[in-house]
Symmetry: C3
Subunit: 322 residues, 3 copies
Amino acid sequence: MSHPLQLTPDGRLRHLLSMEGLSKPLLTDILDQTERYAGGRGSRGRKVPLLHGKTVVNLFFEASTRTRTTFELAAKRLSADVINIQVASSSTAKGETLLDTLKTLEAMQVDMFVIRHEASGAAHFFAQHAAPGVAILNAGDGRHAHPTQALLDMFTIRRHRGEFSKLKVAIVGDILHSRVARSDIHALRTLGAAEIRVVGPRTLIPAGIEAMGVTVFNDLDAGLAGVDVIMLLRLQKERMVGAFLPSTGEFHRDFGLTKARLAKLPKDVLIMHPGPINRGVEIEGDVAYGDQSLILEQVEHGIAVRMAVMAMILGEDVRREA
Amino acid sequence: MSHPLQLTPDGRLRHLLSMEGLSKPLLTDILDQTERYAGGRGSRGRKVPLLHGKTVVNLFFEASTRTRTTFELAAKRLSADVINIQVASSSTAKGETLLDTLKTLEAMQVDMFVIRHEASGAAHFFAQHAAPGVAILNAGDGRHAHPTQALLDMFTIRRHRGEFSKLKVAIVGDILHSRVARSDIHALRTLGAAEIRVVGPRTLIPAGIEAMGVTVFNDLDAGLAGVDVIMLLRLQKERMVGAFLPSTGEFHRDFGLTKARLAKLPKDVLIMHPGPINRGVEIEGDVAYGDQSLILEQVEHGIAVRMAVMAMILGEDVRREA
Amino acid sequence: MSHPLQLTPDGRLRHLLSMEGLSKPLLTDILDQTERYAGGRGSRGRKVPLLHGKTVVNLFFEASTRTRTTFELAAKRLSADVINIQVASSSTAKGETLLDTLKTLEAMQVDMFVIRHEASGAAHFFAQHAAPGVAILNAGDGRHAHPTQALLDMFTIRRHRGEFSKLKVAIVGDILHSRVARSDIHALRTLGAAEIRVVGPRTLIPAGIEAMGVTVFNDLDAGLAGVDVIMLLRLQKERMVGAFLPSTGEFHRDFGLTKARLAKLPKDVLIMHPGPINRGVEIEGDVAYGDQSLILEQVEHGIAVRMAVMAMILGEDVRREA
């Protein structure tokens, strides 16, 4: 399924909704643009006037201070005005439908909406109804997609490994409910990774996922053998008990990345996690802050990749108008 | 009752508290100033440095994300610093009185307070006690007034009809509890509208409202016959059941603006609503987004009119100091 | 106990954690720098670009709109980007530990964290683990310290009295639970105040406090005799009933500053309170806004002193990098 919705007729980014339908050259261009903003420590405090006078609204139907903060910082560093709207407690309570909310905010001449929603497809819905000149950026919709997370993951891998063509990657944990896993799989395939594995208990691997071009492992040691990168997923609290898992202790025993387990793998295996981590569940604290962990780099690159995407979508707009 | 409180000795705006006491020339001046900020789509992204260095505090004692957002956007597009304070959860809980809150924030060298409060007269109270150089902007106080809503309504009407002197306007719905209705009636009278009607069930029309210069209708078809503009009001959830109304279904049947009803009226009748709409209560969704609806224009003009008022009050101040 | 943690090797401010360990020259330098930002009314609306491009995060684990607002205003007037994070409702709920929160936000290239926490020592904990180039500003930690409050109190006293060496100061109320009292005592001693008294009921004076260089009074009239400055403390709601106090009425009778009591003292005695006041508990409303009260000046100076501290810490940083 392609998503021409997120592209302009000449193939540039118009919205960012999912990794599906983005070509390898476009993904590569985004990663190249991200280099501008990701510099070293020297780049601390750099602020660019690129989106001065533009308005970005963080429209969050699902609370996530961490994700909201990364988008807010990215927009402010591009000099945009940022408005935060947490919807649960406001207009929905007043009975406005989603569409009324979008149309109303559009009328306030907002240039971009960063949307987080618990329903899969919400960002597409907004993009379908968005007025010309109004961009939608998906900050996570249900189990569907989390494209900026996939982009920052790809950027982080590329910084350490350069090429994707020889790369073996294992994505470990709750694949079933993870929009991060879905977006990462699409991005890795597009960029040509040699092998993509998904590793987890049978109850947390969706049936038929092999069709996405991945190999399934239900044993962690087998799944990690020979990989270059381990991408752990956050185990959502609400999955930790009940039908999907006997207990978090058992999950940790079977699928948690521990120091002991890591010691058996080559020293240059990279460890990633979208955060926030559950210490002692999918990862041990020592591993999270160990030498092979890229977790904090992922956070740092998250700002840069969001700046790049915002600038590519809204900055282009500026150029065309000028 | 006049409100010299909101004017300077030489008759310029000092606070904006209500439509009462504002002269026709002053109202017209505000609408003229609004033209500067209301441009077409080309004005998207325009930001002016007029209030750079000024501080505007949104002091909301009653939650309203939508209204807060319009003031926040207006202030930011004028380059002011904006602080949002939702009072219910903070200083009131600590036992500060209203006055302590005002005095404390004033001492932080705030230039303007945008105040929303559930009590009628709250904005006047604050204006009475405000220090010199500190402006109060009423963003809705109880059933009393919502002056920026009236201004954006007048601006929207003027853009479409030019003159007020031949205009027949029907305000429809819950007149009794509506600060919007009160402010619109005052503004329309001041600007010289030919006829102002209020239309609604007996239980939702205040006794003696004829003294405000309006004609009362308890039948919708009669009330709409011959009018140029229909201003619908939002039916507040808390009025929908109980003493005032038998049911929302009955209200919709008798006073809801439907496609069928609209089809019987001339094609150039304008439809307005302060939002957020209750689909299927006071208005049908199709009507809200139909050709005759100005609802989204109202939202857009809401930013412009708030920019104009802020600039007239605080920008003047700048000129005087310079 | 000294706190070299908050100083650079060459003795300049690196973090601001407590008044302990700050030398008299450094305290005096902070007060001198504050003069730049505290000007008269003419300074309203002044904004300086000193921290343009810097990011300040207000990380509040304990709600305080008032304190958060002062830091937000100070940072914005220095042209920094400000992000507000209220932690109770967000990442803590997701199971992130304090350290994970700090490390994650640091990775977003935040330059300064303003931290309010209910646990004594929280700010030190953050400072111990902060990366190079990341500054911690303590906005109140448990019963331990509230250094910017002490600085604004010292600045306010100095503006009115010039010298500290002949000054007799009484701190009145709930000394036991007060971080403000502790920080004020340290600051007054460092600046060489002639006499520091603590005045309150036995249950609210910590045992052994004389070791801090103060004299204890359990009778208000005796404690106020001959003093130049009365610093009242806010009686926290949760202390007002139960083990510590028989009733607020009794507290007011014995330790409340009333007009009658004030009339017996010299007319030039200064009255201070960190706010928000409890009218009719530790102070009468008339006294709070009377001629001798410096309460609103304290609020105003609070912005200036926070600007000075932020500029000294982050502005220096800028100079070093350039």
